[in-house]
Point group: C2
Chain length 293, copies 2
């Protein structure tokens, strides 16, 4: 992975087309427009979403692939990964000179069938209701052509101070790690919200804990910052909590697997730092051969 942390000096205003008008397209198109670039046109299958985004950024819109304008500097394809696989051929057809980039973390650059192809992956969780500030959003760039790579890099640097070049191969693992960090941690919040609602406790009581957990990841490795029954190897609590989940087998399995894996991580860390393991009550409960029921 190579990095550029500073803005490029050859600031060049680009003519852009957005294919897609969902969460990523909306956030990215708004940010690029704010940075001074011009989105000429938005394409979406659905008129309402095409118009909503187009109105936000003063662009034209269309719902017909045939009417997508020619001659733009960059065509951003920002649709679901499965729609991308289906539509890539149709969209690029007849525009063989143009640079097409997709914004999907998980898809190879080679899903695009045109010669000038690239990837512009802003790694963030986007919503339509909440426009993201791109300044610290890591952007991962790839292009087949060196000049295209330079152009995409410069464009990304207009938005973000964290721009990286990354191959499709390595980006697969980056995206998978992002699914764990974002979607799965968010789903842990969602499970907690549902669990608390059943006992009349508002989800808002969890927010300081969520914030501190995220804040700790800035200053120490998540493995070292881990707390709770599994990190302590506290069998009584783990057994009891699994019983509390008896009426939800998926949550119970998630609990069991997460706890087992936390134990594995802690044991593997403790075996590296065994001189620290006699300083607290915690050490009385860590067995290297620990196995959850």
């Amino acid at each position: 992975m190579s990095t550029s942390m500073s803005n490029q000096s050859d600031h060049q205003l680009m003519d852009l087309v957005f294919i897609g008008a969902g969460k990523v397209a909306t956030n990215l198109a708004v940010a690029l427009t704010k940075a001074g670039h011009r989105v000429r046109q938005v394409y979406s299958r659905t008129e309402m979403s095409a118009k909503t985004l187009a109105d936000k950024i003063g662009a034209d819109y269309t719902t017909s692939v045939d009417e997508i304008v020619r001659g733009a500097d960059i065509y951003f394809i920002s649709i679901t990964d499965s729609a991308l696989a289906q539509l890539a051929g149709t969209i690029t057809q007849g525009r063989e000179e143009a640079l097409f980039v997709h914004t999907a973390g998980s898809m190879s650059i080679d899903i695009l069938p045109c010669p000038r192809r690239g990837v512009f992956y802003p790694m963030q969780t986007f919503s339509l209701e909440r426009m993201v500030d791109f300044q610290h959003v890591p952007c991962f760039i790839e292009a087949k052509d060196a000049d295209d790579a330079k152009m995409l890099h410069a464009l990304a640097c207009d938005l973000s101070d964290k721009v990286y070049s990354l191959s499709s191969h390595d980006r697969q693992y980056l995206h998978l790690a992002a699914v764990f960090c974002c979607n799965f941690s968010n789903h842990c919040y969602a499970i907690a919200e549902k669990m608390l609602a059943d006992h009349g406790v508002p989800f808002s009581v969890m927010l300081p804990l969520i914030d501190e957990t995220a804040a700790k990841a800035h200053v120490m490795s998540p493995v070292r910052g881990q707390t709770g029954p599994a990190a302590r190897g506290d069998d009584n609590v783990m057994n009891h909590q699994q019983q509390l989940l008896a009426d939800n087998p998926i949550w119970q399995q998630i609990y069991r697997l997460m706890s087992q894996d936390i134990l594995n991580f802690q044991n593997s860390q403790n075996s590296h730092n065994s001189h620290n393991s006699h300083n607290s009550h915690n050490s009385h409960n860590s067995h290297n051969s620990h196995k959850l029921p």
Copy 2:
């Protein structure tokens, strides 16, 4: 759950003893000392941890249960849940008049065998290296005696603006929800860190995503804020990502269960909001009978 959001006026300085010198004890004892209360003594089985905490707050310390002082207003027992189950009888013996409270989210008040017993559960993830600001830490209080409950409530209000009364029964579910929100989301970070290290990508690239995921939980329900392949019902990506995890069966199972449960949550939400389901490309991929392989 009943709430007190304002400081009590009958501010009374307390004489305290801490039994335990781990993460929770250290953070709580430091915060109570800062709030003007006096920790007379720290007990820990391990001299180094007893001395370390005692020195931090200007208290005496002991490593012998017999030498724990008498006549303190409140004895805080803050040791691992399994140590608590083992030691509660020994510690309270001969001090039948005293108020003992434990700080464990998961344990019943009745683990304490003495008549004046209570719980003071500060719901946060604590580390020795990072003293937590208690102002917004939700504190959950319980006591057998009404006057003791009032005293603990007043003490908690000296530290935090979020003090609640909660029964042992409901606190079980609160603590379980906290395990999901904190320990399991943190473990998702830990998995990501390990995964990225194998591909030469620094974990720090994940921090903006982690921060935004936590920040979104403040402004929208985690279910509504969910993004990623499972929320989109994107089978291709999910199948591919499960294959990437082929050499780690635990992570692969966690991936499968989390994705399945995210789909279940989204489908259950979509069935409530079906009028929103035709506005974007995403709708093309949501099947109500969706089942992961």
